[in-house]
């Protein structure tokens, strides 16, 4: 197995020291699934998610996880199988990427509409055409309205921590919604970083399996019908009920993140502000890209520029309130998207969420929408520093840029179009 070995030397005295290993994001996802003792996994391998599927298959074959692995012939079937497994009360997991997620799309709505607490890892990847296997958030953005809770990870540790939390959130009786945890394709899925996993006992005590029967499940002794027809006389109420559950999930996500911090020392919120206390300009980001933006902020701080950054960790439900509070004192806000909403009011999907969050709270600031890094295009710290320059200009003139700026483009008009 390609999983990393423990690096701690044997002769270290029993100091209750935390175990630290080297792991890729795909390893971390598989470890998390193992540590919460998942019951059913249905996966169809797709790049760059494949190592997650491989690792879990290996662990099941080796008897490390006592789970049922369903070999399916497509992602549509993978999602269908885990929805059905969850409907019997099992703890169910799948993982996918890009086109695979697109093939699941129909069933994504069914998972959330039937309120089945499925957990999925999404190795984010660009969508065809042209065929591209590298990272951006086009696939994730395509599922934003499917009723899934969406948590983005910045590094390998977060992939692990977010997945452990995902099971607890999804299965909470006040939530009962599917949760997806992202890991940037290759950047996290295939890159080795330090990881502090917890013991299986710790993982299971944090995200315990609830006793069977705490929620309605398929049971021959107590029959229920799951998946009824919802005619116009009730469909709307069922959908509103689902929207209210998504709102309600905010409380559970928050409690879970805090509790995680209390026990394991790494606290998670809806957002992560970076150098925001005195920031004059700020960029909002998602996922692993945030680390790069932090590097740019550090560089700018050395030059005396009061730059800050806000990372969105929970994308659905969207943390509008927290974000507005974090951004209320800056002079200009930029949003860095790695996906395109073709023909949108602006083309950055994250930008639209940020702008709405601010506008509805009467916070009007110069804003700029940036798109960079599509299909694995490298983003450089200098590019992000340039974006901050653009924000400083906007802060000075007090004017937003009304169209999205594409950075890092090979064009005769220059690299910004």
């Amino acid at each position: 197995m390609a999983l990393a070995q423990e690096t701690k030397p044997k002769e270290v005295p029993e100091k209750k020291e935390k175990k630290r290993i080297a792991a890729t994001g795909a390893d971390a996802a598989a470890y998390a699934v193992r540590d919460v003792d998942v019951d059913v996994v249905a996966v169809y391998p797709i790049t760059p998610q494949a190592p997650i599927a491989e690792n879990i298959a290996q662990m099941i074959a080796d008897g490390e996880i006592d789970a049922e692995l369903i070999h399916v012939e497509s992602e549509h079937s993978a999602m269908s199988a885990v929805v059905a497994a969850a409907a019997t009360g099992a703890r169910a997991f799948t993982a996918t990427s890009s086109q695979g997620l697109e093939l699941m799309h129909e069933v994504l709505y069914i998972a959330s509409g039937l309120r089945q607490p499925v957990v999925m890892a999404l190795a984010t990847r660009a969508l065809s055409a042209p065929i591209n296997i590298w990272n951006d958030y086009a696939d994730a953005m395509g599922m934003r309205d499917t009723g899934w809770i969406m948590i983005f990870s910045e590094n390998v540790q977060e992939v692990y921590d977010n997945l452990i939390q995902a099971f607890r959130i999804a299965e909470h009786p006040d939530v009962l919604l599917p949760v997806v945890v992202t890991l940037d394709g290759y950047i996290l899925s295939h890159t080795t970083e330090p990881l502090e996993p917890m013991s299986r006992e710790e993982a299971l005590s944090f995200a315990p399996k609830r006793p069977r029967g705490y929620r309605p499940v398929l049971d021959p002794d107590e029959p229920v019908t799951i998946g009824v027809l919802g005619a116009p006389n009730w469909y709307q109420e069922v959908k509103v009920q689902q929207a209210l559950a998504m709102r309600e999930s905010r409380r559970v996500i928050e409690e879970t993140g805090k509790e995680f911090g209390r026990i394991f020392g790494r606290e998670y919120g809806f957002i992560e502000p970076y150098m925001m206390d005195d920031a004059e300009v700020a960029i909002v980001t998602l996922g692993a890209t945030s680390s790069l933006v932090k590097a740019a902020v550090n560089r700018l701080r050395e030059q005396g520029v009061k730059a800050g950054m806000v990372k969105i960790r929970v994308f659905r439900p969207f943390p509008a309130e927290e974000l507005a509070k974090a951004l209320e004192n800056v002079n200009a806000v930029g949003v860095l998207d790695r996906a395109v909403s073709f023909g949108g009011a602006v083309e950055g999907p994250l930008f639209m969420e940020v702008a709405t969050s601010l506008a509805l709270r009467g916070i009007v600031k110069p804003m700029v929408s940036f798109i960079h890094g599509l299909g694995g295009r490298d983003i450089f710290v200098k590019d992000v520093m340039e974006m901050y320059q653009k924000l400083l200009e906007a802060a000075k003139t007090g004017k937003s840029v009304t169209r999205t700026l594409f950075y890092g483009v090979k064009s005769r008009r220059g690299h910004v179009v």
């Binding site: 009786p173 309605p216 019908t225 009824v228 009920q241």
Partner: protein, 114 residues
């Protein structure tokens, strides 16, 4: 109240708050409570004198709306039957399949009068 009981709502919800989670129906056989006659424009009427008790209408009815009842019947010509075929008008949708299949044309489709 257990969390499951809370999630299962009320049998006949009147508002959003009463709805079982994801509209899950925990009451087996609930379709028996549903009448499906509202869309009927013609109703089948069985002529008991003509009917030869062949059971074909019972076999063909897609809604199980033909009932075989233990009720003796003597025809005008003195023939005795142990059973009688009747229509369950709460579930008959008026499709007319029974009338079409009856080999002796004992079933007539009569317009529903409102």
């Amino acid at each position: 109240m257990s969390s499951k009981e809370k999630l299962l709502g009320k049998k006949y919800p009147e508002a959003l708050e009463d709805l079982p989670v994801a509209a899950i129906v925990p009451w087996p056989g609930s379709t028996l409570d549903v009448t499906t006659h509202a869309w009927r424009t013609f109703r089948p009427v069985i002529n008991q004198d003509k009917c030869v008790r062949c059971r074909l209408c019972w076999v063909y009815c897609p809604d199980g709306a033909i009932l075989e009842v233990d009720e003796e019947y003597t025809t005008s010509t003195g023939k005795k039957y142990k059973v009688t075929f009747k229509v369950d008008y709460d579930h008959c949708k008026g499709c007319g399949i029974c009338a079409n299949e009856c080999p002796v044309k004992a079933i007539e489709m009569v317009p529903e009068m409102k």
